[in-house]
Structures are given as structure tokens and as C-alpha cells.
Amino acid sequence: MKKVLTGNHAVSYGAMIARAEVVAAYPITPQTQIVEKLSEMCADGDLDARFIKVESEHSAMAACIGASASGARAFTATSSQGLALMDEMLHWASHARLPIVMANINRSLGPPWTIWTDQNDTISRRDTGWIQFYCESNQEVIDTMIMAFKIAEQVKLPAFLTLDSFYISHTSEAEELPNQKLVDEYLSKYQAETDLDPTKGSPAYGSLTTDQWYFELQIKMQRAMEQAYDIILKENDLFEKMFGRSYLPVEGYRTDDADYVVFVSGTIASTIKDAIDRARENGIKVGSAKVRLFRPFPKAMIREMAKGRKRLGVIDRNISYGSEGAFFTEIKGALYSQSEHPEIHGFIAGLGGRDVTVDSAYEMIRLVVETSPEKDINWQGAKL
């Protein structure tokens, strides 16, 4: 069934058809519509879930942790400062190996106060142990919601997906609402390993662990992340068979014969396609590659995508202060062990919601094609 939904409501409907059992969330612009819709769904009985009103994002995640540990499928949504406030509990959720799913609207961090998009809120949560998906379209959002639960529950790690503030969150698109029966077939009820009822013999979780075993528990988390990468591919295959849509961790656009490839993420992945088409019309063999997965980082696919290219570019809508764009660092790191080292341009564009236009994307493509990189950060679309 086709439905016209904003990105935010795609998240709400995603939680509904994935049959979330507990929703605990605190409203924050530009995520508020997600929570409003979910509370309506719970009140109307469209979603058979317990909606927990909380006083902060920290409490929202704490409630999800309790719900998930007791065996329920738990969901929350937040953005920016809310995600930052949640930080301590993000670590708790992953270390406790609870498959909570969250949607985060990528909104720049303040001050100065802002509600427009960039990725610094989630990029700075890099080492929390959460699987991270960066979405390009509303359809991808709703589909990722379903897949995220299935992946998270298999590897026992939490997962979040991100939506660019306003460019996705508040933009309406016609999208295919996956059939409930098919979704139920794809994603069965959560079978938890954990319970919180002491009379049934359930243990207490997260108890004090000294240097004798903490190290090994960390290795188990890393192994789960590595396993997640394979499961993401496997689940995407199954999803494609059942629903006809595919989302690879690294997705090329006109890259088959490309001499040059520009890596992007989020909604810029859509914008750059027009610029790539324009460059192709001008006879330039260039393509783009959307990186949808940030953790686990899809190193193998990055290497495959970079192979045999004359020069590469990376567009980051984020910055690691004192270093460079985060995807730029990761992509260079993935290629270091390879025998080929094509030159790589690092661009930073669109911070604080600054529009990345087709023209500015075309300029970045031109720089990749015509020039060698001279510095680690090439600011694009800034008033310098």
C-alpha cells in the first residue's frame, strides 16, 4: 500500500509494523512528530505497545533498557542535544547487549542554538557500541526500521538509524508501506535471552566485573559488531527477496566504469546523483557511492569501491574538530592496508543545515576529477 508520509511519520509507522512493544521517548524538535504519532497509535490501539512518558532522554533510554532486559521489543527516538543527554545510557544499552532500536534526527549541536541538519550528533556517538545506519529517503527509513530490529536482535547490539533534519524528517514522500503479514513473516516476535523476574531465577545484569573478565566482554562486543556486518548483508538479501528493495552498506551510482568516485552519506547522496549525471553528460567518467553504514564500518565494500579508481573524494556533513571529516578518516583508514592508494579529497559541506546544492556537488566532483588534494579539509559552500 502506498502512503504519503513525512520521514518522521515513516519512523512511527516503521515502529508500528515492526510491532514495538515498549516506546519510551521525549519530544525534541525535529523529532517530535515521531513521538506524537506513536502516542496516538498506542492510544488508538493501532499499536499494542506500552507508551512510557519520561522526563528526559536519559530516562527514555533507561526505560528502554529495562523494557528490553525484561524481554520486550523497545524503541525510542531523539535528536541532537537529546541524544547527547542520553549518552551514558547509550553505552549501558550496548554493553548490556540489548537490541534496542532508535531513530535519531541528525540535527546540529548548539550553541549557537540550531535545529538544522548535520551529522555531528551521531558521529560523536561513534564509540558507543551502537550499529549506525544513515538514511537517504523516507522509504529507506521505513524499511531500515524493520531491518534494524531483526539485525539488532540477532547480534544483541542496539541499532539506530538517522534522518537528516527537515530534508527527511519533515519532507513528505509517497512510499510503500510494507504489508503487515509479510513484515510479521520477516520479523517474528522478539525472543529475549533475558528476563528480570527473580522468582523465575533471572539474574541481575551488569554486575561488577573486575579486570579479570571485562576485557573479554569487550572482545565479545567487537565480535558481535563483526558478525553484524555479515548479518546486515544476509538480512538485506532476504528483505530484497520479500519486499523488492535493497540497501547495501555501500551503494554505487554510475560507478561501474568510473575513474573517479565520490563517497557521500545521508540526503547528499540524492543531490550528488544529479551532479554525477551532469558530469557524465560532459563525458567525465565519475560515480558516487553512498555509505549507509557507519558502525560496523563496511571496510570490505569501501575497498572494493575504491579499487582501480584514479582519484576519490569524500563529502562529510560533520567535523571531528582538530582532525577532519569522520567518513574521510574512516575511508582512508580502510584503504591504508591496501596496495593501491588513490589520492583522496576530503570535503566538508552543509554544516548546520547549509544547503548542499547540485552546483556545489558538481564543484566537488570537478575538484576530484581535475586536482590533487592539498589539504585534509576542503570547505565547500562556506563564506570564506
Partner: protein
């Protein structure tokens, strides 16, 4: 404290659970062993208001047939929150072994 029948020896990473957890439930992990003071209620002064029951962070307070508080010393850690909150100051914290 009885020996924990859930105890398993961990020798390698493969024996470890996915996440750190207690061996057996809290029914066998009796946290009362952490205590160095324990609560004693003066029934003559107690008004059976239930505030100690309400505030106990370890849920060890229940009531006897007459409605007076009873403390489950298998789990009471001796934090003294009950004594602090009691409006009649009729809960004393007594040092263990005295």
C-alpha cells in the same frame, strides 16, 4: 549464606555470558552480607505509617500481622534510609555483632 548452586567456573571467553550477570538470581545473591548496621523498630513509637516501606531502596520492608514493619535482613544493606525518613525517629540502626 548458603552456597550458590548456580555457581559456574569461568575459564575462557567462551564460558562468559553475553553480558555480565550474577550467578543465579537475586534470590540466592543475598546482599544483606554487605551490611554493618541493621534497623530495629521501636513498636511503641511506630505509627505504622508505611514511610519506611515506601522509601526502602531494596524493597526489604514488609509488614507483620499488626501492620508494623519487618525488615528482610537477607537483603537489607543497612543504608539507613528508613531510619532517616521515619517521621517518629523510631528506627534505630544498630551495629552488627552488638
Amino acid at each position: 549464606m548458603a552456597k550458590n548452586k548456580y555457581f559456574v567456573e569461568i575459564k575462557s571467553i567462551d564460558d562468559l555470558p553475553t553480558m555480565a550477570k550474577t550467578m543465579g538470581s537475586m534470590m540466592v545473591n543475598e546482599t544483606g552480607s554487605w551490611r554493618n548496621v541493621y534497623p530495629v523498630v521501636d513498636k511503641d513509637a511506630c505509627t505504622r505509617c508505611g514511610i519506611c516501606w515506601k522509601f526502602c531502596p531494596d524493597v526489604v520492608v514488609s509488614e507483620d500481622a499488626d501492620g508494623y514493619p519487618v525488615f528482610n535482613l537477607d537483603y537489607c544493606k543497612g543504608c539507613g534510609v528508613c531510619a532517616n525518613e521515619c517521621p517518629k525517629s523510631c528506627i534505630a540502626m544498630i551495629e552488627e555483632g552488638k
